[in-house]
C-alpha cells in the first residue's frame, strides 16, 4: 500500500474529484481559507504515509467504533489509508507477542517521527494494575511510546480528560494523557465518542502542514471546538424567545423548543455537533429531541445530572432548612438577650433630675 494516497483511493473507487470535494468541505469545516482545500488535496495526495501507533487504554472502544463506522463509503476511513497504522489492537490482524513486536518495531523504525493516538484514560491506582497490556501497565506503555513520538492525539474524552473512568469516585485513579505526558505536543479530541471528521480533520492538517492545528486552552482544535453547542444550535432562537420544552413529551417538545430546562448542557459544551452532525449529517442529539450531555467537556459525568437544567441547583438543597432553623434560633437567642438587656436598662432607670443635665 505504498505510493501516493490518491492512487490508493483510486483503487478503492474514490475519484480525484470526490477527494477534492471532500478536502474543500473539510477545509471549510476547519475554518481554513477556501484555497486551502486544494492545497490540502495536493499535499495529501502526494503525502508520505506517517507511522501511527494507536494505544487503547482504559476505554470502551466507542472511539474506534465511531471512526471506523463513519459514513459510507468512508472517506474518513480512507484517510486512514494515508497513514501507516502500525498498531491498533482492535483492527490489526496480529495478536499477542506478534502485535507487541509490531509496536516495538514501528517505534524503533520511526523514532521521533511517529504519531501517537491514545484512546482511553490511564489508571494510576495500584501502580496501574487496573489496565495492563501484555503484562505492562498502561502508564508504562504510554511513557515509553510518548518518549519517541512526534505528537500525541488524545482521542475521546477519556484520553483527553479522564472521561467516565475518572467519574467520581474515580476508583481506578484514572487520569488523562496530558496529566502524564508534559513534553510533547498533545491535541485533545474530546467527545464520547468524538466526531469522526474532527479526527480526520486533525490528521489532514498534520499531513498537509506538518503541524497540529491551533488549539484552545483545553488543548482542543479551535476550528471544531471554538463555539458551544448552544451558539450553533438550530433551537437557539427558542431559547432567546423563552420557549422551552418542560418534559420530553409535552407540546414544547413536539414543537421542537429549546431543551435547556430538560438539562441540555449545550451552553457549556464546546463541540461541532450542531454544525457537523452525526451519521453523515443525518441528525444529532438535540435534533433527535434530547439535550446535550456535555460529553466533550472535562468531568461531564459529574456535572450535576444530565436532566437538571444548567441554572438549577446541581444538588438538592441540603441544609437550607437546618440553616433557617439555626438562623431563627440565633435570632430568638439574640432577641431574648436584647429584651433582657432592655428590661434591665428600664428597671435600673434613674429618674433624671435637673442636676443630671450638667456634664
Amino acid at each position: 500500500m505504498q505510493g501516493p494516497l490518491i492512487d490508493t483511493l483510486a483503487r478503492q473507487g474514490i475519484t480525484r474529484r470526490t477527494f477534492l470535494k471532500y478536502c474543500a468541505t473539510l477545509a471549510s469545516m476547519m475554518a481554513l481559507p477556501p484555497t486551502a482545500g486544494r492545497a490540502m488535496a495536493e499535499a495529501m495526495a502526494a503525502a508520505r504515509r506517517p507511522s501511527v501507533i494507536w494505544l487503547p487504554f482504559q476505554e470502551c472502544t466507542g472511539c474506534t467504533e465511531s471512526i471506523t463506522r463513519s459514513h459510507s463509503p468512508t472517506i474518513e476511513g480512507m484517510i486512514f489509508d494515508m497513514i501507516s497504522l502500525d498498531y491498533q489492537e482492535t483492527l490489526m490482524a496480529a495478536a499477542g507477542h506478534q502485535a507487541e513486536a509490531a509496536r516495538a518495531n514501528a517505534m524503533k523504525e520511526n523514532a521521533g517521527k511517529y504519531l501517537l493516538i491514545v484512546d482511553g484514560s490511564i489508571p494510576l491506582k495500584m501502580d496501574g494494575a487496573y489496565s495492563c497490556i501484555g503484562g505492562r501497565s498502561n502508564v508504562d506503555i504510554l511513557k515509553e511510546a510518548a518518549a519517541g513520538c512526534a505528537a500525541i492525539v488524545a482521542m475521546g474524552s477519556c484520553a483527553s480528560y479522564g472521561g467516565i473512568p475518572k467519574a467520581n469516585p474515580n476508583p481506578t485513579g484514572a487520569v488523562s494523557v496530558s496529566d502524564i505526558v508534559k513534553d510533547k505536543p498533545i491535541v485533545n479530541i474530546p467527545g464520547c465518542p468524538p466526531i469522526p471528521v474532527v479526527m480526520t480533520g486533525v490528521l489532514a492538517h498534520y499531513l498537509t502542514f506538518g503541524s497540529l492545528p491551533a488549539l484552545d486552552d483545553k488543548g482542543r482544535p479551535k476550528s471544531f471546538y471554538g463555539d458551544t453547542i448552544h451558539d450553533r444550535c438550530y433551537r437557539r432562537p427558542f431559547y432567546d424567545q423563552g420557549k422551552f420544552a418542560r418534559t420530553f413529551d409535552d407540546e414544547g417538545a413536539r414543537q421542537g423548543w429549546c431543551l435547556f430546562e430538560l438539562g441540555c448542557k449545550g451552553p457549556v459544551t464546546h463541540n461541532a455537533c450542531a454544525t457537523v452532525k452525526w451519521n453523515g449529517g443525518t441528525s444529532w442529539p438535540v435534533e433527535s429531541g434530547h439535550g446535550c450531555l456535555g460529553c466533550s467537556e472535562p468531568d461531564f459525568w459529574d456535572g450535576g445530572g444530565f436532566y437538571k437544567a444548567l441554572s438549577a441547583p446541581a444538588d438538592p438543597l441540603k441544609f437550607a432548612a437546618a440553616a433557617a432553623v439555626v438562623g431563627a434560633g440565633a435570632g430568638v437567642a439574640v432577641s431574648f438577650a436584647n429584651r433582657a438587656k432592655k428590661s434591665a436598662a428600664r428597671a435600673s432607670h434613674e429618674t433624671t433630675t435637673l442636676a443630671d443635665l450638667e456634664k
Binding site: 435547556f260 444548567l310 441554572s311 441544609f319 437550607a320 440553616a323 435570632g331 439574640v334
Partner: protein
Amino acid sequence: MTDLQFLTWVRGPGLNIAIGIFLLGVLWRLIEIYTLGRRKDLAAPRHAAGASGFHTVFRRSLPLPGMLKRSPVSYIGGYIFHAGLAIIVFLGAPHILLIKNLVGLSWPALPSQFIGLAAVVTMAAMVVVLADRINKPVKRFLSTFEDWFTWAVTFLPVLTGWMATQHLLLPYTQMLALHILSAEILLVVLPFSKLLHGFTLFGSRWYNGKVNAHKGVPV
C-alpha cells in the same frame, strides 16, 4: 479544578452554602431587629385618609414633590437599576428556572435579548449612581467601605451574567461559574450589610407610616 468542576461546585455545594447562610442570616437579622419591640402609643389617635403603615409602604416608592429635581440621579438612577435588577432576576428564563427548582413557582420569561438589554441599562445606571456617590459631597461623606463593597457585590453578578451570555472575556462556562459565584457572594453578604434593606425597607416604611398615621399624617 476544571471549568466544569468549578461550575458544578458553584451550582452544588456553593449554592447550598450560600442559600444556607442567606436564610440563616436573614432570619437571624430580621428576628433580631423586629423582636426589639415598640411601646404602644398612648395618645388618642387621629384618623386621616391615606395615613397608615400600609399606605406608606407603597407611597414611599415615589419621590416627594420637588425631590426629583433636587436629586435626579438618585431617583432616576435608583429606579432604573432597581427595576433592572428585578427584571433580570425575576424575568430571566434561567433565573425563573432556578426559582422553580428552589420553591416550585414559575412564570413566563422575557426574551433573552430583552434581559441582555436590561442588564446593560442596569449596569449603566449603577455606574452613574456610583459616579454620583463619588461626585456628590453628601454621598461621598456618608460613604463607608460597606457602600463601595455592596455596590461591587451587586454589580458583579449583573456584569458576569451579561458577559457570560455575550461571550466576553472568558469562556462561557467559566463566566457562568463566576456569575453564579458572584450571586452567591451577594446572597452571603446581603443579610449582614445594608443590602438587607431589601427586607427591612418594608418594616421601616411601615413603622414610619404607622407612627405618623397615629397623628393623622400621611407620610
